[in-house]
Homo-oligomer: 343 residues x 2
């Protein structure tokens, strides 16, 4: 495979670069008219589970927005689905589990042995994507952090405070740990297979890190992320994205992960202090700021790049891009980073 | 008025005490069967706007749970309502504004002159409450931070990310500042009247502090809270509660506020570092942890008290109590603090 743009992997591998690489969380998504066209034709899990469609969707932003990395179109909830849970995506509601995990029997019923191979469609999508990318940019694979996936498995749907999921932890800590262990086991096999199929970096999304205080974060989330990172980082660089809970960044100082993804809520200066200088930082433009007039958006982007400073940095949003962002605004963000220079 | 329990005010006034005072955010609320009975009879704004009802609801937890302070039953959205906006409370949806602020005309239409006197029912409720309390515990009055109130005025309802409210700031910063200024003006008059009527401390709820990064927080929220604090703190001690955005605590180091209210997401040790030793800290038990078995709940409460250490501290939840908390669990939390001793 001829590699034309390896800026993103260079940074993760500690090489010196001339400018920061850039990609956007959810860059394959609803703000792109080309995606909306496929969305009208195929339902969510058809798009996720049909390798040709997932590959096509993954490539769309590479052709249109031209970031420095692709991320395979998929969903963090493919894991509980492969473990035998019924997962639906209800329009305007989001993910929905008709039957959630409530007791030991439900936990015992979770399938861990066959789950990784049930995700063959993902590995196939990676192979097709890599053929189509033909070395233009590296391909990222991802999984949810076990804690974040657990939240949905217990709560059954999105929530402001995931009170049901947290109550489950506080009332049945051993059962909660058993679910988290199982999700971790499946996630490790899944990510190993993804790397084997051609994913060149792995991002772990802990989108609900914000739900736990620091002590509970170590117990219910970090512990499992650490297991995944140990297993995967010898195979591909690992990025750990946390939404909220910036004080937990320091917990990863001795982790073998390559980068910490930070959300838009934290100033670059504080993020750098908390992450330390051993890890790459990825982030953290507020996606809502992509709605600013383009001139303002460019100024804000440059101000962020200046504050993060040089090297050990991947430009990104601090959360997924929103459906109502005009394509030319998304492009202005990417272009601003691409024309920035460290020299 | 014979003051029997002034522990809460003592701490805010910098006096040495034998144990931390305790109250709970939303302690007059849906977890109390006595409140639910009134809720079935009277709609939300009837409960808020009928002084006798508001006073009765305020007193309920004092009789049942026996915390060290009462907080007047009301709502942060009485301010936009008094400014002429139609505010509804829709069951299972929450606050709803049929018509939001969208343009300069809408901003110009906001009534600032008559708004404070339209809230006479609140001042009357305070007087009745103080008569009924008869010095048993001090009475807290509150208002939303202008930023948090603004979020609802622009968004029109609760939201995960208040994208509409933030977009309004980023696209029309001057108009946003004009709304924030008007809300601040009305809030200052309102809080002065509350203190004159008998509120002995004031809490400002910045429940959506989490929506802004540090730079934007200073611009869109802190600036207005500072104006309120300057006006009110000579009259009564001011507590500023922030949900999220712990790095903003330090912004209040030179504020004349007496206390910073911190949410459950932050460890007591880090909260103390960020707030500094000049201010009282209030918080921060995770309300969802009130669902733990009572023995565990007591252990967690004591662990929190130990970590906050001695003096300059008011025990509270890190967010409002939830409707599904059993009354005996809420009482166990309050009782655990009340039997704790600094000696």
């Amino acid at each position: 495979m001829k590699e034309q743009n390896h800026l993103f992997l260079d940074v993760l591998n500690g090489k010196k670069v001339d400018r920061p690489p850039v990609w956007m969380m959810r860059q394959a998504g609803r703000y792109l008219p080309e995606y909306m066209e496929l969305r009208r034709k195929y339902d969510f899990f058809t798009r996720v589970e049909t390798p040709e469609l997932a590959a096509e969707i993954t490539i769309q932003p590479i052709d249109i927005i031209k970031p420095d990395a692709a991320i395979l179109f998929s969903d963090i909830l493919v894991i509980p689905k492969a473990m035998g849970m019924d997962v639906q995506l209800v329009d305007k509601v989001g993910p929905f589990f008709p039957k959630t995990i409530e007791n030991k029997q439900d936990v015992d019923n979770l399938n861990t042995d066959e789950a990784p191979e049930r995700l063959q469609h993902v590995y196939d999508a990676i192979k097709i994507t890599q053929e189509k990318l033909d070395g233009r940019v590296p391909l990222i694979g991802f999984a949810g952090a076990p804690w974040t996936v657990f939240c949905y498995m217990i709560e059954g749907k999105g929530s402001k405070n995931f009170a049901k999921a947290k109550t489950f932890c506080y009332q049945h800590p051993e059962l909660a740990e058993s679910v988290l262990d199982k999700v971790t086991d499946v996630t490790i096999s899944y990510l190993k297979n993804k790397v084997a199929a051609g994913a060149q970096a792995i991002q772990i999304f802990d989108s609900w890190a914000s739900l736990l205080n620091q002590k509970d974060y170590a117990k219910y989330s970090q512990k499992y992320i650490d297991r995944i990172t140990e297993a995967i980082s010898p195979l591909a660089p690992v990025i750990i994205y946390l939404r909220g809970n910036p004080f937990a960044y320091a917990n990863y100082k001795d982790s073998s992960c390559s980068a910490i993804g930070v959300d838009w809520g934290i100033s670059p200066t504080i993020a750098k202090q908390l992450v330390g200088d051993k890890k790459v930082i990825q982030g953290n433009f507020d996606p809502i700021k992509l709605l600013m007039p383009i001139d303002e958006l460019k100024k804000e982007t440059i101000s962020m790049l200046d504050e993060f400073g040089t090297q050990k940095y991947v430009a990104n949003l601090g959360h997924g891009i929103l459906p109502n962002i005009p394509v030319d605004h998304a492009k202005a963000f990417v272009d601003t980073v691409k024309s920035y220079s460290y020299k």
